[in-house]
Symmetry: C2
Subunit: 369 residues, 2 copies
């Protein structure tokens, strides 16, 4: 009892009313039957709903005598899903769930629905690589910029072994942390490497959107509104050389891959198809490209087809319900007409990170082989 | 115009209404006169306020014709502050600010108010250490557990140089990420090391609260409700040995320090004063200790005074408005009565991470010297 009293006095000392309010509330709570109970403390609210990418529509929640709203979902298919509450029309986080979706523009929580046997993105008792936050000084931007870098188990910065490198780019409004926190790069690669299904590799995750930092310093956004040219230059002139100076990277075209999701898929194509002298593996996940004029822009934006026919892997993935699916289809058409080899994987569903993890798992087993 | 159309279609593809709604809204916007404008899109809300640790009370926001609420604050003293919105009584994040406060129980954003010349926690163009996320298998918990680890610039895992290690513990409901993301350990140490004011050191930031992971697996919380004993064992039996196996750590009592905030301050005292055979530097920031019975519990909980008189540094810090200030005062009384040397730094303000960064900056210049 003394300890409980102390915990409450500590919660009050913290000064966040929410900490005291929420003390003892478990959300999300995964039940033995595969359903999930969500709880949100809001004594003054009149309507609270659960919105989640595992639901086909929002679920109404009900209020108990203490003002805690809750709902239990139908059984949820194991995966990791973004969700949030809608409280009297206002999007709100789950204050009791520390797993957040890193993004510039929205703040969802993550539901990690486990499975037996565990899914490939679940942390298991296998040798773990590490994820490092590094910072470099970008000469062209004159800014300190972050990189999140996965190195595989057994990586030795002074050893003889050299590793291939995957440069992996987030989507629009995501950050350098999204592939780590939501994409679970480290767990997927730890598990695939432990099972002998992927080659040990380094994964470099840049923050592809320099616009907020430039805006903060200069008061104006860069003219290149999609950031494709700016980031492609940053990747090729600064990030690849920095990586190869600071890591045991193979440093050859054969040992470099680029992949990305959404706007990062567009940047992947710009960097990868634009620079086959740098990258030999190019993997676009739901790339932000549109069919109109693509036959003409392809020749302008990318390297000659004769060079692209030598790529070791050109991969296109998209969800068939994704608003960007038509762009991937159009790209296929152009590639066919130019006799450039490629592979595709189209999956059910839309523009989601559930799909991104599937695509990453698939390409990781094909890279550098 | 075509690019704008594409950005909007991309925002819609993302499937988060908030992404489209919030497109183009800048929040927080730091103005040239040191005031800050906050904006929150909520067309259906009837009352929106700004709550922040740089304010003495909540500020009312006003709605524009598009349903975006805004307020401009008085000039804000440079520092990093937690804040959130209160939307019709509901705590809500700033959807346009990617800087979040990692915590199990509340989700604040951070306002990083810059200064000229820059404050010690501001990232500058100096050699940067790295921050690594590592995972180890805890034998006593039978769980994979995370560690966030700072290594200083020039750290060479195969080199001759060995480094002292600071074990740095977060507060109640914080996570292993809080000292990194809010405490800015890496920037503070990068800058102090570049200025020759701190010795290069390794900083190990554990996740001191295993209760959520144990609860998820076992369905019951550990009986040790404050987690002090459980974590002290984990630190001494698992985390220190793991660190010394995996890093170029000095591995001597003289080269080990422990510090922590709030509940982490309590755990710091339990580990540090309980085990002077392990740690020689013990730094408690606003420790969660209470005066009642402390004279008796001191002898039960900690090592004999004769041993504690040999500590190289025993440091107590607290804000004078902190609800836990009396506990630090009581500890001073007991230490005096036992003739154990200690140093204190009491600062204005309460139980805040603004104070934590001050304390970390101060102790970093005193450790291992």
């Amino acid at each position: 009892m003394k300890n409980i009293k102390h915990i409450l006095s500590l919660a009050v000392a913290i000064g966040f009313a929410a900490a005291a309010e929420a003390q003892g509330i478990v959300s999300p709570e995964i039940n033995a039957d595969g359903t999930v109970t969500f709880r949100y403390p809001a004594p003054r609210a009149t309507k609270v709903q659960l919105s989640g990418q595992f639901l086909s529509g929002n679920l109404d929640m009900t209020r108990d005598a203490e003002g805690v709203w809750s709902v239990t979902t139908p059984p949820v298919t194991p995966d990791i899903y973004p969700y949030n509450f809608v409280v009297d029309g206002i999007t709100a986080n789950d204050p009791n769930n520390p797993f957040l979706f890193p993004n510039e523009r929205f703040k969802g929580n993550l539901l990690d629905m486990p499975s037996t046997p565990p899914l490939i993105h679940s942390q298991q008792d296998v040798p773990h690589g590490r994820v490092s936050y590094r910072w470099y000084h970008s000469e062209q931007l004159d800014l300190e910029r972050p990189l999140v870098i996965y190195t595989p188990p057994g990586y030795d910065p002074q050893g003889e072994a050299k590793y291939p490198v995957l440069y992996l780019i987030h989507g629009m409004t995501d950050t350098h942390e999204t592939w780590f926190k939501v994409g679970r790069v480290n767990d997927i690669l730890d598990n695939l490497i432990a099972q002998g299904r992927a080659k040990p590799m380094i994964v470099v995750m840049p923050y592809a959107n320099a616009a907020p930092a430039l805006m903060a310093r200069n008061g104006t956004a860069p003219g290149d509104v999609l950031g494709t040219d700016l980031f492609t230059r940053e990747l090729i002139r600064e990030i690849v050389p920095w990586t190869e100076r600071n890591y045991r990277a193979e440093g050859s075209v054969a040992g470099r891959a680029v992949a990305g999701f959404s706007l990062g898929g567009r940047q992947t194509l710009a960097a990868g198809l634009g620079h086959p002298e740098v990258f030999s593996h190019v993997c676009a996940f739901a790339p932000a490209i549109w069919g109109e004029g693509m036959a003409e822009s392809f020749d302008r934006d990318y390297a000659p087809a004769a060079q692209l026919r030598n790529l070791k892997l050109l991969w296109i993935s998209c969800g068939v319900d994704d608003g960007l699916y038509a762009g991937s289809q159009a790209l296929e058409g152009v590639l066919k007409s130019k006799r450039i080899r490629y592979q595709t994987l189209y999956t059910p569903g839309g523009h989601t990170w559930m799909n991104c993890r599937i695509y990453l798992t698939e390409i990781s087993q094909r890279l550098f082989k």
